[in-house]
């Protein structure tokens, strides 16, 4: 890393409050939420969504892990009743269950289960301007039902279409005021790909530096993909 300023700078895309960073989100919005097993989860922004109280949301995310005291995750947001539908490869842990399972069973929450790699590819297609992709994954199973099939090199492939959303909620380690971001370990997960696939992207970070504070070789998400930043609570 090149030398970094000691103090975060509150300019550029950095918003003063979570409320202001989430302004414009309305009922019925589709929301990409990054995170995998508690890492790289935009907790501050999820809390903010709960406080704003917008409803009928469609969440696209890895899924809900167990609720933990003092933490705020997908389970907690779903428990508020603001979520209409969840698109996820692991909607809930089979043993833990929790609010997602409860609300799904009572018919208050719709679940669409997707394959992790297929979801990644659909988001990538959405972010990279690709209309659709032919993938081998899930051929001859329920994951291919109702979808167009085509053989390539003698192997059946499934047509999957691009996925985009209204907003992406992201979590990075640090950003500069322009919005360039780096992550911490497996906290990277869905973040870079979701950053490309939404009309509005909001990221929470531990620190915000001046431009130049992040080595260009280390940047994972380029500033052009990020609209708003907030500091993690």
């Amino acid at each position: 890393m090149t030398s970094v300023p000691e103090k975060p700078n509150a300019k550029g895309k950095l918003y003063a409050s979570v409320q202001s960073a989430l302004e414009g989100i309305s009922d019925g919005a589709s929301v990409l939420v990054a995170g995998y097993a508690g890492r790289g989860v935009p907790e501050t922004l999820l809390r903010g969504l709960a406080e704003i109280g917008v409803g009928d949301l469609t969440l696209v995310c890895q899924g809900a892990w167990a609720q933990e005291p003092g933490k705020f995750g997908i389970s907690d947001l779903v428990a508020t009743g603001q979520v209409k539908k969840m698109v996820s490869p692991l909607p809930f842990h089979p043993e833990y269950g929790g609010p997602v399972k409860d609300l799904w069973e009572s018919g208050e929450l719709e679940l669409e289960v997707v394959l992790q790699g297929v979801l990644a590819e659909r988001l990538r297609a959405g972010g990279a301007g690709i209309g659709g992709v032919f993938l081998p994954t899930g051929a001859r199973t329920r994951f291919a039902e109702g979808k167009e099939l085509r053989p390539f090199d003698g192997k059946e492939h499934v047509l999957e279409f691009a996925l985009k959303a209204d907003i992406a909620l992201l979590r990075a380690k640090t950003a500069d005021t322009l919005g360039n971001m780096v992550y911490d370990g497996t906290g990277r997960n869905w973040n870079p790909i979701m950053a490309m696939a939404a009309a509005l992207t909001v990221a929470e970070v531990d620190d915000v530096f001046e431009p130049g504070g992040i080595d260009p070789e280390m940047v994972i998400t380029q500033a052009i993909f990020i609209d708003r930043l907030v500091l993690a609570a």
Partner: protein, 463 residues
Amino acid sequence: MPGTPLDADAMAHRAAQEMFSGAVVALGPGLPCRLPDRLPIGGVWFLADSGVVGVRGMDTNTSAVDAEGDSVALIFGGAFTGLVEIAGILRGGHTDIAVLQPAQVAANGDFVHWTTAATNGLFAPGSAVDMAYGASKVVALMPHRNADGSSTIAGECSLPVDGAGQVDIIITDVAVINVGQDGLELVETAPGWTADEVVAMTDAPLAVSSDLKEMTFQVPTLEIPDKVYASAVEALKDVPEGAIINVDGFAGPGGMAHYLMVGLRDLGVKGLQLISNTAGVARVSGFGAPNIIDHSILVENNQVAKATASYPVSPSASRPSAFEKAYNRGETELEVVPQGTLAERLRCGGAGVAAFYTPTGAGTLLAEGKEARTINGKDYILETGLRADFCIIRGHKADTLGNVVYKGTSRNFNPVMATTAKITVVEVDEIVEPGQLGPEEIVTPGLFVDRIVVRPADFSAYL
């Protein structure tokens, strides 16, 4: 009396016998996730679908988790990736072995992953299905019986199938069973267990191998093969005539594997089909160093049969490139592809995406002969993934495991090309030890790289 079922350690040790030096091994949740802890081995790339290449095992307070959500450490030379890169590693032919713990496996290799009675009607496949469809070999590592005593192996799955015909071998706590064209074959039993006992507790037709053995638990000694080669010629001497070769070559300054190009020239192998952004314009444009070395040295040596490129001509009509001259003489073929489409075709080839709809070129000459499709009111054309036999790339530094970092815009096509070839050869300014390139900075994980050579500082000997 039947013997005691094997414990998880013994099952892990038997599973290790399916691995080989340098193998890429994807780990599903459950027992597979804990393999790195139970196996005192290096020498393979354990993948976590959370975005880790090179899991070492559980550790406290690390910045990584695995598919179980447990905190894990990386090997020296491990790297972090995002989930789309992991999906590509799983699907794109880069994963040798997937180890999964299905809830149920059928006689034809179908499996059910995490669906249980408690989640009936729903399912939580995670990336188990990606692993199963992508890996060369799928190992089901699971208890032979459920807690209620019922068999986990069935003639047909009783719950919705997550992967059709994907499982190759089943390792349980009492037996090893091969899944073949003709159904299940019992090939090994655990110590103290007879074939009859295993057959009796299996709820599927199970043939007993004439070569039935007792399971052993010797963990193999594995090492990631040495990837450092003495010279470009040594690293490329098995390139066959007519090989398809990816070579970066954005234009000139940096990014181009000059030393490996010289090696190809000196080997003299003919009929090469180059996939590259340009077909060699550095020399006529006079940029880069050494600008005398570009694709032209191969063209002039009559080694190039075809180029697939987005910028095949010289920027100056009065100074045509060697490739243009050869093309005009009818000596080479040319396929022109827009730059972004070339990048996407390479990315798809490397990530196991057979084909994709791109808007670029729709309604133009570039769309001729291709399927056109309107999706949500926008016109697209269908393009297919590209793969190569060899790839020659230029990095800045590599470690001996093959992890690569680049410098500035010399990164360009190199990382994507590295994912698309059967054999990837990289030339670098410097080779370092594993661990000297950090997991957050590695751009090309070592599993993509087969051979490494050091690029000379001075090319005067090669001109």
